[in-house]
Every structure is written in C-alpha cells, then in structure tokens.
C-alpha cells in the first residue's frame, strides 16, 4: 500500500513516499499530497523517495506533473534519496537532469534557502 506523510523542516515541506509509485497505487496519493502541500501554501517541497519500492511510467508521469504544478505556482519541488531502481528509470527517460536530486536531507533542505 502506497503512503505519503508530510513533515516540515523550517520552510521546507518534506513528503515521505513509501510503497509502489505505479498506476492505480502510488500515483493518486502522491498527487493528493502535492496538492495539499500547495493548498497549504508550501513553496519549497522536498519529495523523499527512500522507501519507494518500484516505479512505472505512470509514477514518472506523476513526478513530472507534481514538478510542473509546483513550478507553475512559483514553488520548487526537489527529490531526495532515490533508490537505484528509481534512478535507473529517471536515467532511461532522461529526466535525471530535470530534477534537482539530493542524497543528504540537510543539503536538500539547505538548497531551498
């Protein structure tokens, strides 16, 4: 079961995703979490994918949708802790250069300053 929990570090909203980021499972919870963060006024959103067990093209599409929604609202969405499976798929789809990606949460949070 996919799940997204939200926490704050200063002005940064961190969304911890866990489970399968695939069609009909993790895509909707992620969309909702990004939507709620934006509705709550978040401008700096860090998506932690550490516990993402798999991703498919729909999950990739949801990452892109989230990125464009946040950017269009004047905010920034960045990624952290990509499992190798997710990183491989972002490389295949050549989206690895679209996202700002961090391995260390302190660095990621500081990058929004």
């Amino acid at each position: 079961m996919a799940r997204v929990t939200s926490r704050k570090s200063g002005d940064v909203t961190i969304l911890d995703f866990s489970g399968r980021l695939i069609i009909g499972e993790g895509d909707y919870p992620l969309r909702e979490a990004v939507h709620q963060a934006l509705e709550g006024g978040a401008k700096s959103i860090l998506l932690n994918l550490k516990d993402t067990t798999t991703i498919d093209s729909s999950g990739i599409g949801e990452l892109i949708s989230g990125y464009t929604r946040v950017t269009n609202r004047g905010g920034r969405l960045k990624l952290e802790n990509l499992p190798s499976k997710v990183q491989d798929i972002l490389q295949i789809t050549q989206l690895i250069t679209v996202f700002e990606i961090y391995d260390d949460e302190k660095d990621a949070v500081a990058s929004f300053a």
Partner: protein, 159 residues
C-alpha cells in the same frame, strides 16, 4: 482455444514452450498478481532479481498499455499474457482487442518539447528494458511482443 483467449501464438509454436498463459480483465488491480505470477515462472528459469525486475516492469508497461490504450479501460475486454521460451529467447506476448498503433507515430518522450509531458513513456521503457519489442495487429486485436535473449547477454538497465 478458450472463448475469451486471443491468438497469441504464431502458427506452429510448440505448446511445450508456453510457460504462462493468463487472460486478464482490463483493471489495474490485477497488476500485482500478474507480477507475482510472472515471478513464479521466471525464478525457476534461473533469472536473477535484476533481470526479473526488468522483465517485470517491461511486461507491466505492456499490460497497462493494453488495458488503457488497446482496450480503452473497458474491464470487460480481456488482455492476454503469454510467456514463451522460443529457442534461446524469452518471449512475452501481450494481446488486447484494440486496433493497434504505429510506434513510429508516437511522440518521442526524449525530445525536449515532450520532456515535461506526464505521459507517453511506456514504450520507451519497454524498448530500454528488453532486447527487442515488436507489435502485430490482426483481426481480433493487437499484440505487443517483448523479447529477451537468455544466456547472460541481456542488456542492463542503463541504455
């Protein structure tokens, strides 16, 4: 042939090469079970976890395409999934009842103008994760054919 099944096998295919034969409703809820069933036949073939992941994801994308684009999300229309051993190759055939499509006419998701489009990456993943991808269209629908060469020469995840 069962009433609901599709002509997935080319004429003359030896039936003993068929290692999995499923007919699925066009509902994403069955995808997890598909992966489990696939793993249950790939493990005994001696494929490691990385290979099973590549095969599993490419097959997942083909089945999702069949459900959404081929059968247009009509849960009453079947998706056929067959896993075959064809000489030294592993072949997975995914059939739907749709009219088929020309892969050359799909938008290239790697082009800069398409980079931020949310959809259109299923075929790219199938191509990257297999040794060959083909499509056939017939009177009853279309079939995606995924092929891997067995024997240690499979491509890794990095294109």
């Amino acid at each position: 042939m069962r009433p609901n099944s599709l002509p997935l096998l080319p004429a003359g295919q030896a039936p003993q090469d068929l290692v999995l034969d499923l007919v699925l409703p066009s509902r994403p809820e069955v995808l997890e079970e598909v992966r489990d069933r696939l793993d249950s036949v790939l493990g005994p073939l001696g494929l490691d976890e990385a290979a099973r992941d590549r095969i599993g994801l490419a097959t997942h994308e083909a089945v999702v395409n069949a459900m959404i684009h081929g059968n247009r999300r009509d849960p009453g229309l079947p998706v056929g999934l067959r896993v075959l051993l064809d000489g030294g190759d592993l072949v997975i055939r995914v059939a739907d009842r749709g009219p088929g499509f020309d892969p050359a006419e799909t938008a290239d998701p790697l082009r800069p103008e398409n980079r931020l489009r949310p959809g259109g990456r299923g075929l790219l993943l199938m191509t990257a994760l297999t040794d060959a991808v083909g499509h056939e269209t017939g009177a009853e629908g279309s079939v995606a054919i995924l092929r891997w060469r067995m024997g240690g020469d499979a491509r890794n995840l990095h294109p």
